[in-house]
Symmetry: C2
Subunit: 331 residues, 2 copies
């Protein structure tokens, strides 16, 4: 077993290739073989699609796997590389972070060749895969504890030109929501690292909560819309019907738009994603399970806004996020 | 601290009482105080409502907590006792089983006074709470890994009279589905223990997957329908609108109706709960993440049936359940 990360095939091979990205073993784990698909049709855009960065967000791996089946018929030019599952041990454990080292793969980029298994995955992707692409779709979701609409997102990017390109491509998914998300915990993110290399990076958030057949069809159609916009696939973009509505809006959310729990207890959601709320509207209710004599606490909207994420009914700690509000992006 | 389980008030007190069921400490945990609500209006049915037996099924605790708010206005007679959270440590950990001893509270009834914390909870409920009721609604859900409709369920009961009473009361919820569920892993279940004491026990399965505001309203209305049927609350039962449909059907599912995964991999659901399927229809697809060269495996319906549960998009092991089929109950 070679002790450097390597691919079992050459990404420059023409046509379809299926093989693995091998992550070398270390003191904390055996070597990993991450499945890789490549379809090289020569000149044109070079797109990388990744899924399964977090192990409890399986929408991305499923949509990626569907693409592997139909891209060979549909792709007209350029190169597409797909890694359906970046963090295989986390996916097998249905865990956001990697069980063996407790790390969040999306906080350790560009990784370390001599690091723990999560860092070795980031290192292999950074060195062997990312340089082969100009554009990245990293397929996430909000995971099982949140409800979230199908959305394409980006954090604000200092480079105005790259920011404009990124928002334009994010909107091409025609998801119900395109979101510019101010977020300060960015060191080590795949986004930040790819952008530092000049890539257009769209963080695709394929909903949240239950992964069902109807929502998967919406997610796949949105990714197809973006492939059409890039010129990799022929066809006409579709508007997507989500919860009986066809709509598409570009929103912005600030760090201060996250509503936190005022105490520990069970959070009861009282609104749905994409609801419009005004000052004082009830977003959710926090029920103490210490005593039934304690009044439940109503969590209200601090201003007119649109609910872009709401936590499922779960037990939360004091100051844990329970909802994310947003408003139309001012350009 | 007394070393026997006790209530901080007398369940025979008239009117509203709010207090705690105290589970004594043991070598594995501190004492626990489980919140208890009691509304004693004298003669009439004696109902116990419990939630939070499994810590990642928070629909029950939320609906219970709502009842605590409106029952004082609505209850006309009899006694209602509510324990919104039976397994507080599991709820706080969002874990089906109790973290400290790894036990499933719904497999250790009637419990043991000198056992581990899960067994001590079962013992306290069996000895101090259950004898005060004739009817039990135990509020569960299918948890975050499954989609499931709002349903009232029972396992088959040997005593034909008790079975008939139980099915009749289960149907009074008017949920989209009433389910008679053949299931062999029953020793130690709260159901089985309560039935052995002659109680009418309805295992209420308040959906599965994301816990959202719209589904919570359906769950609460169904429980209210059953309270009306018992004569505890005045009013008219409502038919519930679930996924744009008003319907109510009584189904049966056998142990052999559980579809298992033919291999390990990521399960992609391809149908929705309450879909009618016929022989050969695709229920879901199993994608290997070992290699993209392996064909995905289509999991098909073995017979005409109704899908009553389908797993969310998650990684599954070989032989893990991915769907549950059912058919109309033959009376």
């Amino acid at each position: 077993m070679s002790n450097t990360p390597h691919l079992t095939f050459d990404l420059n091979d023409p046509g379809i290739s299926k093989g693995h990205l091998v992550i070398p073993n270390g003191s904390d784990s055996e070597a990993l073989s991450l499945p890789v698909f490549s379809l090289n049709k020569g000149e044109g855009p070079r797109l990388l699609i990744t899924g399964g960065c977090h192990g409890n967000e399986l929408e991305g791996p499923i949509v990626s796997r569907r693409l592997v089946d139909w891209l060979p018929e549909a792709q007209t030019c350029g190169r597409v590389i797909i890694l359906p599952v970046l963090n295989l041990p986390a996916v097998q454990a249905w865990s956001r972070d990697t069980p063996v080292d407790g790390l969040n793969l999306n906080r350790v980029f560009p990784g370390r060749a001599d690091g723990s298994v999560t860092e070795r995955i980031a290192d292999a992707v950074s060195r062997l895969i990312l340089p082969m692409a100009d554009t990245v779709f990293d397929l996430h979701s909000f995971g099982p504890k949140w409800d979230f609409p199908p959305a394409s997102t980006t954090h604000p990017i200092a480079d105005a030109d790259l920011m404009a390109k990124t928002v334009r491509l994010a909107e091409a998914f025609r998801f119900p929501m395109t979101l510019v998300w101010e977020f300060h915990d960015t060191p080590g993110m795949f986004d930040t690292w790819a952008q530092s290399q000049g890539k257009v990076f769209v963080c695709v958030e394929l909903g949240g909560g239950t992964v069902g057949s109807e929502s998967l069809a919406i997610y796949e159609a949105g990714v197809r819309n973006a492939l059409i916009a890039l010129g990799l696939v022929d066809g006409k973009a579709e508007y997507l019907t989500y919860r009986q509505q066809k709509s598409s809006q570009t929103l912005a959310t600030l760090s201060s738009d996250e509503l936190k729990s005022p105490a520990r207890g069970i959070f009861e959601p009282r609104c749905s994603v994409l609801d419009e709320v005004k000052l004082g509207d009830v977003i959710g209710i926090l029920h103490s399970m210490d005593s039934l004599s304690a009044d439940s606490i109503y969590i209200r909207a601090p201003t007119t806004s649109i609910v872009c994420a709401i936590k499922s009914g779960v037990h939360v700690d004091f100051n844990e996020g329970v909802a994310l509000l947003a408003r139309p992006l001012k350009v």
